[in-house]
């Protein structure tokens, strides 16, 4: 297992670092929020990101992608996480593209992957139905009708759902609640009759939507893969997404930690910089250790995905669980150590806390992944 970056990945990371710092600092997210921009992201900047090849990092070259692998994707998202950059990168490039690649027909791939890679097309994954991540707990139903398929159900926290051109919907075609068999993946146009989208205004000012499907009629070409066999490709793509989200969370936590460290060296109380107080020093050192462990877990998961390591599912759960715990710790301590100023909207540190809790819940929190790890390991 290789836990360091090669030259290509280092260049990708450095390029992303410069781009996000220059073009999409935390200030940009604040502006999107304060101006109540309907899209919730900047389309021109998204075009530039796609131009750098990031939307196609997980797409093979034959379909117009850059094929840099999960480790490459993780580096870009880690840097995005440092700046809390809002864009459809995750939904399109980390969820939709690999799912199309795994489950779609050749026609799907040829028609959709190049436009996903170029950033022109936005596709969102409509998956969870309750406030807590539950991959197989799907009540949304797809049924055969006289002239095709009919979709009924409701989804919550569809990331980038309000700007998506299409959805990949996880629906149940058969089976009991929580069964893996009987899950079907469907490609649904956002403007199709019966689809209604409500933007969810989340605490992190990023983009998500509640989506309802009310007797949506679909043709056979809407099927991604075979009916009832959506679980395997979905599970693989969710794992990849968990590792990449863990990388984004690592970026968030690293930046929040570094800002806090800088504040500890600056802020004076009782005639001394507060970073000289042992009560704060020890907590800072503890956070440093947890961040180092998290970085190793994240790199381990990303490397396992690229090398098709037999234990990659467990390593992805390890990365997400560790990222959840560390980010919860660091984001809360960051506000505490900033004192009163940390409670103000004017100071940016609160943005990190707000994003942290959303990212923790998304794709499974720490308890979810510890439970999953234990199950995978047979205890």
């Amino acid at each position: 297992m290789n836990l360091t970056l090669n030259e290509e990945q280092t260049m990708l990371k450095n390029g992303a670092h410069e781009f996000f710092k220059e073009r999409m600092p935390v200030k940009a997210l604040r502006e999107l929020r304060d101006k109540d921009v309907p899209d919730g992201f900047d389309r021109a900047l998204w075009g530039e990101m796609a131009g750098l090849g990031w939307a196609g990092i997980l797409i093979p070259e034959q379909f117009g992608g850059a094929d840099f692998g999960y480790k490459g994707m993780g580096q870009v998202l880690e840097e995005a996480g440092r700046c809390l950059a809002a864009s459809p990168l995750f939904s399109s490039a980390v969820l939709a593209a690999p799912l199309l690649l795994k489950a779609g027909t050749d026609e799907h791939k040829q028609a959709l992957l190049p436009t996903l890679a170029s950033g022109e097309l936005l596709i969102a994954l409509a998956h969870d139905e309750s406030p807590r991540h539950a991959p197989t707990r799907i009540a949304t139903r797809v049924e055969q009708s006289a002239d095709g398929l009919v979709l009924n159900g409701a989804k919550t926290f569809v990331v980038d759902g309000h700007v998506a051109d299409r959805f990949i919907v996880v629906a149940r075609s058969s089976g009991e609640r929580d069964a893996r068999d009987g899950l079907t993946l469907l490609l649904v146009d956002a403007k199709a009759p019966g689809v209604s989208v409500t933007r969810m205004r989340m605490v992190d000012s990023r983009n998500a939507a509640a989506v309802r499907f009310d007797k949506v009629a679909l043709g056979a070409d809407a099927l991604l893969g075979k009916i009832g066999e959506g679980h395997a490709p979905l599970a693989a793509v969710l794992d990849g997404a968990r590792a990449v989200l863990a990388a984004e969370m690592l970026g968030n936590a690293s930046e929040a930690f570094e800002r806090t460290l800088a504040y500890l060296k600056l802020r004076k109380q009782f005639g001394a910089v507060i970073g000289s107080f042992q009560a704060l020093k020890h907590r800072a050192a503890h956070m440093f250790c947890e961040l180092e462990l998290t970085r190793s877990a994240v790199l381990g998961a990303l490397d396992a995905l690229d090398s098709r390591h037999a234990d990659s599912a467990a390593l992805c759960s390890l990365a997400k669980a560790k990222a959840c715990d560390t980010l919860e710790l660091v984001s809360a301590e960051a506000v505490q150590m900033h004192g009163g100023i940390g409670m103000t909207d004017a100071e940016e540190i609160g943005f990190f806390l707000k994003r942290a809790r959303v990212a923790q819940q998304w794709l499974g929190d720490a308890s979810f992944h510890r439970d999953r790890y234990a199950t995978l390991k047979g205890f």
């Binding site: 360091t4 020093k281 050192a285 234990a374």
Partner: protein
């Protein structure tokens, strides 16, 4: 075949031919070979195994051949380690001379000192102990008061050391002494002397685990030849700090060296709390066990990453403190979790109906409490990280 592959093939063949079967089993602590004038061997195989490894220079495979080492490159060292792990070979010799003093002598010792001490350490002929802590200088090590006065051709040493591990069995001691009382760190020197010198007295200290691996060591008018000073006069603090890095590395490895005797947390949990399907039935303990084994894995990945970064030349400092801190705290958590899972079975002190394994578990749990105290407490490690890695001020 590359030279390294060739080396691997030869190493594997040699180990298979020369490592006795009884030396390929997990090793209880009391079967460790420490060498020295009064060396004790648990059986003839352990003596034979040591002799064979000494002959190849593989008790200290990375040291130069001139000093009894194997002269192996970093890559070859890694191969040897992997091949020994693969066969489950026991470490042939445990020695503070190898893990702590040796690296320091290689760097700071005179040629004469190296010739005198290193080959004997490599051959397991001499057992060393460490004279660092004092009753008034534990975590604040630089407050040490043991004096060494210049008497022309020798130093006269007076004072008391404490927590000197195995001092009652040691042949020689590497000792921190005060040679200038007007300053703190800058007044300390690093001395070596024979434990049979007149005026040296040791008394074992019984610990909460019932064991007595530590001693109090009293030094009364001990005469130490001037040639036994390592490095420059009053330059001992630099050496002491460097040696502590080696010690911390060794202590954070402790969890691994007792592996095989102490079962894994999830195995114990399943034994005592498993349902018919093997699932740990108590959801709170199951979550705690999962957290523990996941942290173990993240820690393992971090050590591997540090090794890879060090090879690539991109390593950041301060990792030895982090490893010492996390390794020992994690080891303590491991035993606490095992105790929670195994109930009163893990709380036996001696005798029937407790199994040897259960009794070892209890004593090892108590012993583990010392891991985060010895070699610099966890609090000291946190201070070191805060200062040296994070740049926080005093």
């Amino acid at each position: 075949m590359s030279a390294l592959d060739q080396f691997r093939a030869e190493t594997r063949a040699w180990l298979e031919a020369n490592c006795p079967a009884s030396m390929r089993t997990p090793m209880p602590e009391d079967e460790r070979v420490w060498g020295g004038r009064n060396a004790r061997f648990s059986n003839p195989d352990s003596k034979l195994w040591l002799a064979r490894m000494v002959e190849r220079g593989w008790t200290v495979p990375g040291w130069p051949k001139a000093y009894g080492g194997g002269g192996l490159s970093r890559d070859e060292l890694q191969v040897l380690k992997e091949e020994m792990n693969r066969l489950g070979c026991r470490s042939p010799l445990f020695s503070f001379g190898i893990s702590m003093l040796g690296p320091v002598l290689l760097k700071y010792g005179t040629e004469e000192q190296k010739q005198e001490h290193l080959p004997r350490i490599a051959r397991g002929e001499i057992r060393w102990c460490q004279g660092y802590s004092e009753p008034g200088a534990g975590s604040d090590l630089a407050a040490l008061a043991t004096r060494a006065e210049d008497q022309g051709d020798h130093y006269l040493v007076n004072g008391q050391k404490i927590w000197t591990s195995y001092a009652n069995y040691a042949d020689w001691i590497f000792c921190l002494v005060r040679t200038d009382t007007s300053t703190k760190q800058a007044g300390i020197s690093f001395l070596l002397f024979d434990m049979r010198s007149e005026g040296v007295e040791t008394r074992p200290i019984t610990l909460i685990s019932g064991a007595s691996v530590f001693c109090e060591t009293f030094l009364t008018n001990v005469r130490v030849p001037k040639g036994n000073l390592v490095g420059r006069l009053n330059g001992g603090w630099e050496i002491a700090k460097e040696l502590l890095q080696h010690e911390r590395g060794m202590i954070s490895d402790i969890g691994k060296s007792i592996g095989g005797i102490v079962p894994d947390v999830d195995v114990v949990a399943k034994k005592y709390l498993g349902d018919a399907d093997g699932r740990i039935s108590d959801p709170v303990l199951r979550d705690a066990v999962a957290r523990h084994v996941m942290d173990d894995r993240a820690f393992g990945l971090t050590m591997r990453r540090a090794a890879q970064e060090s090879e690539a030349g991109t390593a950041n400092g301060g990792v030895s403190s982090m490893f010492k801190l996390f390794g020992t705290e994690q080891n303590k958590r491991k035993f606490e979790l095992i105790l929670k899972c195994a109930g009163t079975d893990a709380l036996g002190w001696e005798g029937a109906p407790f199994s040897e394994e259960a009794l070892t578990l209890c004593r090892t749990w108590l012993r583990s409490k010392g891991n985060s105290i010895e070699g610099g407490t966890s609090e000291i490690q946190l201070n070191v990280i805060a200062k040296r890695v994070l740049g926080l001020p005093d």
